[in-house]
């Protein structure tokens, strides 16, 4: 029998036959891109899924004003306890933002990217946004600059964006049809007037598309973010994905709507629901085609600091950074050394992964061996949750996880499909008052997963997870994630747990 060839050396896999999720492992999903682009994103945690295990980002909240209204946004953004886009604790001046960026870069050397994402629209505050970039490109040349926008003011600012060395831009595009747009954007502020309804959406869409085309023409990397709103733009986003891809966007990030009444957004108050995990994943898969899909977005605050999924903003408040003395030249040297160390680790992990994915292909080989009378049986895909605190390893205690990375393992590959946030199960100490309800919430959040990989797990959650059909596993602690997922998948296959769904049903009947 002819085996599908899985990547076996360090070279980029051949383009033929590879879906966007890549061959062998999800880390290859940018493999189809030209080398120059891969070099630009390889240490950008928001643009490269593999990089987000190793590198950190920060946003500075210098841009409070906004020129449009989105139904999923509440302009009262001042909140310490919420973690979602558009929320910040304090708005900074450009000078404060520069100081904060240097302080964070010195304290968190893994920080590679400085983004301006709000809390309003960065390009509705062009002076503040560009002043911040201007000074940072001088003072911290080793930091990548990026900006995120709704696109309304983008065409008129493309030239200035390019002048400031900003080579990553994210445009939020939720629709290309003004009728659908009118259900998401009630109004825009345009040429000194408020414009409403379909007319407003049409202008916004035109500006977004024009801005996208202009940036691509100038060689700027563009990521498109879309918010999936069930019953509004869910099926339409497939067309959005096709169009933005055709125009040269290099990554599409379909995110779930966040809408809770307590957020005070129009959608939250009106009871608009967000998508389920399955709906989101199905749409992401449908949008995928041969374009890279981003699935590791954590929808962070406009003042987030640290690795994706973590926020260390509290360590860098204005009060705290005021007293910090920063020797940036020394910090830059240290950053370079640490980045080199990270790259050496990543190279070693890639090596190991290549070996793993040769052997994962052999699962198929053994299942198809003539000795076994099960030639046709392919092992079914399995979702697994992973607790990781970074470095691309299974290295977090179950009880310390605030989120789980979700991987889909099949006979041919392991692919990253998303993240799920949970409340902290173990807050330390012995006052785990509502631990039970927290655990049941985690179990609900891990719905569909058959295993959870972590470094360690307590006796009690072990039992409950097992009872819920989610097998806890601490055997692969400290191993690279994809390697560990592949190994566990192989163990499950060997134990005969992975007959296709139909087979399982008929066996149990």
């Amino acid at each position: 029998m002819e085996l599908t060839v899985v990547k076996t050396d360090g070279a980029a896999p051949a383009a033929g036959g590879c879906a966007s999720s890549g061959c062998g492992s999800s880390s290859d999903k940018l493999a189809h891109l030209p080398e120059a682009i891969r070099a630009k994103v390889h240490n950008h945690p928001c643009f490269s899924e593999e990089a987000h295990h190793h590198y950190a980002r920060m946003h500075v909240a210098v841009a409070p004003a906004c020129n449009i209204q989105c139904h999923y946004c509440n302009r009262k953004y001042d909140c310490a306890n919420e973690s979602r886009p558009g929320v910040v604790s304090e708005v900074l001046t450009p000078e404060q933002a520069v100081k904060k960026t240097l302080a964070v870069a010195a304290a968190i050397p893994q920080m590679t990217v400085l983004g301006i994402a709000g809390p309003g629209d960065p390009l509705a505050n062009p002076e503040r946004t560009l002043a911040t970039f201007r000074e940072l490109s001088e003072k911290a040349p080793d930091i990548k600059l990026c900006v995120s926008t709704n696109g309304l003011a983008l065409p008129e600012l493309v030239d200035e964006i390019c002048e400031h060395n900003i080579d990553h831009v994210t445009i939020t595009i939720n629709c290309v049809d003004p009728e659908i747009g009118a259900k998401i954007y009630p109004w825009i502020y345009w040429h000194n007037r408020r414009i409403k309804g379909v007319k407003a959406a049409r202008i916004l869409i035109e500006q977004q598309q024009k801005g996208l085309e202009m940036l691509v023409a100038k060689g700027v990397l563009v990521k498109v973010n879309s918010v999936m709103i069930p019953g509004v733009n869910d099926t339409h986003l497939k067309e959005v994905s096709r169009i933005v891809k055709a125009k040269g966007a290099f990554l599409h990030n379909v995110m779930p709507l966040i809408a809770e009444p307590e957020h005070g957004t129009f959608f939250g108050i009106m009871g608009q629901r967000g998508p389920t995990h399955d709906e989101l994943q199905a749409l992401q898969d449908e949008c995928a085609g041969d374009m890279a899909m981003m699935r590791h977005c954590r929808q962070c605050r406009a003042d987030a600091v640290g690795m994706l999924g973590e926020d260390r903003g509290d360590e860098f408040t204005l009060e705290k950074i005021a007293d910090m003395e920063i020797d940036y030249a020394a910090a830059m040297e240290r950053r370079a050394a640490i980045h080199a160390e990270i790259e050496a680790n990543r190279a070693a992990q890639r090596e190991q992964r290549n070996e793993t994915f040769v052997s994962i292909a052999s699962i198929k080989r053994s299942a198809a061996s003539p000795a076994a009378d099960i030639e046709r049986i392919e092992t079914r895909p399995v979702l697994m949750a992973v607790a990781s605190e970074g470095h691309g390893l299974v290295n977090q205690h179950f009880g310390h996880a605030r989120e789980f990375l979700i991987y889909e393992a099949s006979a041919m590959d392991v692919r990253f499909v998303g993240t799920r946030k949970v409340d902290l199960y173990c807050s330390g100490g012995d006052t785990c008052g509502d631990a039970d309800s927290t655990l049941s919430k985690i179990i609900r959040a891990l719905d569909g997963c058959e295993a959870v990989l972590c470094s360690k797990i307590g006796y009690e959650p072990w039992g409950e997870l097992e009872a819920a059909g989610i097998m806890p596993n601490g055997e692969h602690a400290m191993e690279p994630i994809e390697e560990a997922v592949a190994a566990l998948y192989r163990e499950m296959a060997d134990a005969g747990q992975l007959a296709p769904a139909a087979e399982t049903a008929s066996l149990s009947a």
């Binding site: 309003g120 009118a182 408020r194």
Partner: protein, 92 residues
């Protein structure tokens, strides 16, 4: 005559940079319009700029004390259609 920002303003900054008269002050508990400086955008723009970008209904009053953005004007849903709209949205 001057416009006025009242309680309910969320301090989002949107109005401050668009005022042609620099009449808006970032104050607490909410932003304020300097009545002496406000021209109601007369001679500059057809529509008052602060009220054209403000995202909150009812918090900017015109010279006669009337809300420029009354309930329903910014969501696009008039109060009498609210229950119906909510039912539609919840059915999605």
């Amino acid at each position: 005559m001057a416009y006025q920002i009242i309680e309910g303003c969320v301090n989002c900054w949107a109005c401050e940079p668009v005022c042609p008269s620099n009449a808006i002050q970032a104050a607490r508990p909410h932003f304020l319009i300097d009545a002496g400086a406000c021209t109601e955008c007369d001679g500059d723009y057809a529509d008052a700029q602060c009220a054209s970008i403000c995202p909150i209904e009812g918090v900017i009053l015109d010279g006669r004390g009337i809300p420029v953005n009354p309930p329903g004007s910014l969501t696009g849903i008039p109060p009498e259609r609210m229950a119906e709209a909510m039912a539609e949205i919840q059915a999605r």
